[in-house]
């Protein structure tokens, strides 16, 4: 096993360390840092917009680049949080609390360095974590039959609902709408068309790109245009010194370890990911601290823990996608889309049929983390100055880019009308405070769920007991039931609401 792990990592580094793949990792990390720094453009929207471009690349190159954007954004997001008190990413909201306080006390350098070093450590650990836990999980996945897959997806959707921000009812609604969108098109078994409204372009279902670009990319632009322009300057920030003091290290290394561990585990959970991990880590640090009153006034643990956690989670959230074919959050759903566009069905088979792909991606994460450390620490001044970029130039360019992206992938005017339609729909949802992420998960998982449900029932000749008779499926459904019970019980619901308010 040990030797295998190193052998596999060697394959991975062999694949990832090619000149062009290192280049793609660098592009991904740069773009990720850029969008991490710029408030208003998140990794989901960026990856959605870049999907059409990956089309012309090889599968490994496109995965390396998209993954780089995702974890690069986790690094970049912390920079603006600390210096300007403006989270570039949702996952770095908590970093603002103590990070910006540190900056105001003239310790910006220490905060930035600890954030970057903590992220780097977490990233390295998470890489090993993915390498060690991927194969055993994939071995389990090979035992999965149709009923097990169905139950797994039910569990995934239910946890996605529980862990979504805001109202549970809205999240459930979004999942259901996503499932319905997933039903559009020709039914494979009977050839009947469903919800196509007589439009032949919908016979093959709604394409992934118009949906995500409309609901994430374009809505994000509209949303930003609605916000009043805030003064975005990093005033009165001085870098006294970048290198943290001995005392800073002493105070933060435990927090980094705790954050890394917590983030690695939360990243694997369906519905989990970077945002949840950083919030959970902050709460944990506050709980274990000897003097919790320091938090909010520049406690370095409040930066170190969450930053390590969000980066670890960003990377371990690849595990369920690569081994079970189950995307655990919206970014992973997009990665799944990217793989499918390349003709690769994510899942355990990938590890056997394309070991270079799995291990190459794992290795590239480690390479990317090293790059990010270099990109972020010495070049921090450049990134901060980017905040002065006029959005009047940026937004029209992004919008045009979105439209061309959709059209280039499938040259068909219906695709553009769908994109516009989903943009309007997404905007309305946003106004009602409905998160689109559960919808995307429902949309991606819906068809798979239906396929496995029907297949399981055909194999059992219509007997629904098959879902309880198979041990894997039974365990997954039991976990789902426990989770549902948890949200229904009023006491726990209140804690959850409180936790998200923090």
């Amino acid at each position: 096993m040990e030797i295998n792990l190193f052998h596999n990592l060697a394959i991975g580094f062999g694949a990832a360390a090619s000149f062009s793949n290192i280049g793609f990792a660098l592009i991904g990390c740069l773009v990720g840092t850029l969008i991490g720094v710029l408030p208003g453009i998140g990794p989901v929207a960026t990856i959605a917009m870049l999907l059409p471009i990956t089309f012309g690349l090889g599968p490994l190159a496109s995965l390396i680049m998209l993954a780089g954007i995702f974890y690069g954004a986790q690094y970049g997001g912390s920079t603006t949080s600390i210096l300007v008190n403006m989270p570039g990413e949702v996952s770095s909201i908590v970093t603002c609390i103590d990070g910006h306080q540190m900056a105001r006390q003239g310790r910006a350098g220490a905060a930035l360095a600890i954030a970057a070093l903590g992220s780097f450590f977490a990233g390295c650990f998470a890489t090993v974590f993915v390498a060690a836990f991927g194969p055993p999980l994939a071995a389990v996945a090979q035992q999965f039959n149709s009923p097990d897959y169905f139950s797994l997806m039910v569990l995934g959707l239910v946890t996605a609902v529980v862990l979504a921000h805001g109202s549970v009812i809205k999240a459930v609604g979004m999942v259901l709408v996503g499932l319905l969108f997933g039903l559009v098109g020709t039914d494979v078994n009977s050839g009947t068309t469903r919800y196509t409204l007589g439009i032949s372009d919908l016979w093959d279902g709604i394409d992934f790109l118009p949906l995500v670009i409309g609901m994430f990319g374009i809505v994000e632009i509209i949303n930003n245009l609605e916000q009043p322009t805030l003064p975005r300057s990093a005033a009165s920030t001085r870098f006294r010194e970048l290198w943290p003091s001995k005392n800073d290290f002493k105070e933060s290394w435990r927090a980094v370890l705790r954050g890394t561990g917590l983030g690695s585990i939360l990243g694997i959970l369906p519905g989990g990911g970077a945002v949840l991990a950083s919030f959970a880590s902050y709460t944990l640090e506050k709980k274990v601290a000897k003097d919790p009153s320091r938090f909010g006034k520049g406690a370095i643990e409040g930066v170190a823990g969450p930053e390590a956690a969000n980066n670890a989670a960003a990377q371990t959230s690849f595990i369920p996608l690569l081994t079970l074919g189950l995307p655990s959050n919206a970014v992973m759903a997009l990665m799944m889309g990217a793989m499918i566009i390349q003709g690769i069905q994510p899942g355990a088979a990938v590890m056997n049929t394309r070991p270079d792909l799995f291990w190459g991606l794992v290795a590239s994460m480690w390479i990317g983390n090293g790059m990010l450390l270099v990109i972020n620490l010495p070049l921090i001044g450049i990134w901060v100055r980017l905040l002065a970029l006029p959005y009047r130039l940026l937004y029209p360019a992004i919008l045009l880019f979105c439209v061309i992206g959709v059209y280039a992938t499938n040259p068909n005017v219906t695709q553009l009308m769908l994109t516009a339609l989903f943009a309007v729909f997404g905007y309305i949802l946003m106004k009602f405070g409905c998160e689109p992420a559960p919808l995307i998960l429902g949309f991606i998982l819906g068809p798979l769920m239906e396929e496995n449900l029907r297949r399981a029932l055909i194999l059992s000749r219509g007997d629904p007991m098959v879902f309880i008779q198979r041990p894997i499926s039974a365990i997954l459904l039991a976990i789902t039931a426990v989770i549902i019970a948890l949200i229904v019980l009023p006491q726990i619901r209140r804690t959850r609401e409180k936790a998200f308010q923090e």
Partner: protein, 329 residues
């Protein structure tokens, strides 16, 4: 500062320009001497699929021979009806070549209530590419060594038996097998062949009718055993696998790929396209490539091919009737 924002703006513009290039279609120019403009190969499957790789292989090989830019256009969906219709409606000028399984195109006449076009009248076969059978597979650990073993065991199992398919050809082969032997197994349809592996290895499905590429790959990995091919004669690439005919189940279901053009394409242009494809199919490299897909290279003249197209259309119609497959609406 100004400079930086400009730089960003320019890089976005560059990205847009590149994206626009990807999406742009070739302009139409009048043909004086064929080929005088870019040639489009139509693929009925999405990019990255096994079929797409095959079409792109021919695109790659065609480029230096035709001395023109070859664009592969993916018109996926509706079980290749979209691509078929698209080609049939294209100008018959030799710049739109549909590279697909002609047998599937022929079968579409019987698989749908309203096929989009009368394929044998709307399309002309310019060149044939390969011949490939479907395969009957079982779990490599199962006791079944021959088709007869499976038949005997399935008869014992009666309606409790299940089998996996993943494409219309697999469905057809499965139904013909059942009609000829009286086996009552229930079909379990999978979206991709790979999806069926776990359930076949766990014994939930008893046997499968799968495409040759998947079957051969899994057989090489030692997971599945190939019992028979659906074609009338054995494969040159794997001569040790018996045919269903030899195993006592009468059928000749041979899929064959071809380069098709809209009917009415001038004879000299069809001849030119035929010459190109023959030149590619003949090479050892292509033979190896096609063998890896579980098929053999296949070269006949355009006229013979058109006759085969019509024959295939009739024969598959009979098989579809025998298999009692309802045409889809």
């Amino acid at each position: 500062m100004k400079l930086r924002s400009k730089w960003l703006f320019y890089s976005f513009s560059l990205a847009m320009f590149l994206a626009a290039l990807v999406g742009s279609l070739p302009g139409t120019a009048c043909a004086q001497q064929y080929p005088s403009q870019d040639i489009r190969l139509i693929c009925a499957f999405p990019p990255g699929s096994g079929a797409d790789v095959l079409v792109r292989y021919f695109g790659e090989k065609l480029r230096p021979i035709a001395n023109r830019t070859i664009i592969v256009e993916n018109k996926a969906g509706a079980q290749s009806n979209i691509a078929t219709e698209y080609t049939a409606r294209a100008k018959p000028d030799g710049y739109t070549i549909y590279v697909h399984a002609a047998s599937t195109v022929a079968a579409s006449m019987h698989l749908f209530k309203k096929p989009p076009v009368d394929v044998t009248k709307a399309l002309q076969i310019a060149a044939t590419i390969n011949q490939q059978p479907f395969m009957m597979v079982v779990d490599a650990k199962s006791p079944y060594k021959t088709v007869a073993d499976v038949t005997a065991a399935m008869k014992q199992k009666g309606p409790k038996a299940s089998y996996a398919t993943s494409a219309p050809n697999g469905t057809l082969m499965g139904e013909v097998y059942k009609a000829r032997t009286g086996v009552q197994a229930l079909e379990i349809n999978y979206k991709t062949a790979a999806d069926s592996l776990n359930e076949m290895l766990s014994g939930r499905t008893d046997y499968g009718m799968m495409d040759p590429q998947y079957s051969m790959a899994q057989a090489r990995e030692g997971r599945l055993r190939v019992l028979a091919v659906s074609s009338g004669r054995r494969l040159q690439a794997s001569p040790d696998i018996p045919t269903m005919n030899e195993s006592g189940v009468r059928m000749d279901l041979t899929g064959w790929w071809a380069a098709m053009v809209p009917a009415g394409t001038p004879k000299p242009i069809v001849a030119k396209i035929n010459e190109w494809f023959v030149q590619i199919v003949k090479t050892d490299e292509t033979k190896k490539f096609l063998n890896s897909y579980g098929g053999d290279p296949f070269i006949i003249s355009p006229d013979e091919a058109q006759a085969l197209f019509e024959k295939t259309e009739k024969e598959w119609g009979e098989y579809i009737k025998l298999a009692k497959i309802e045409p889809k609406g």
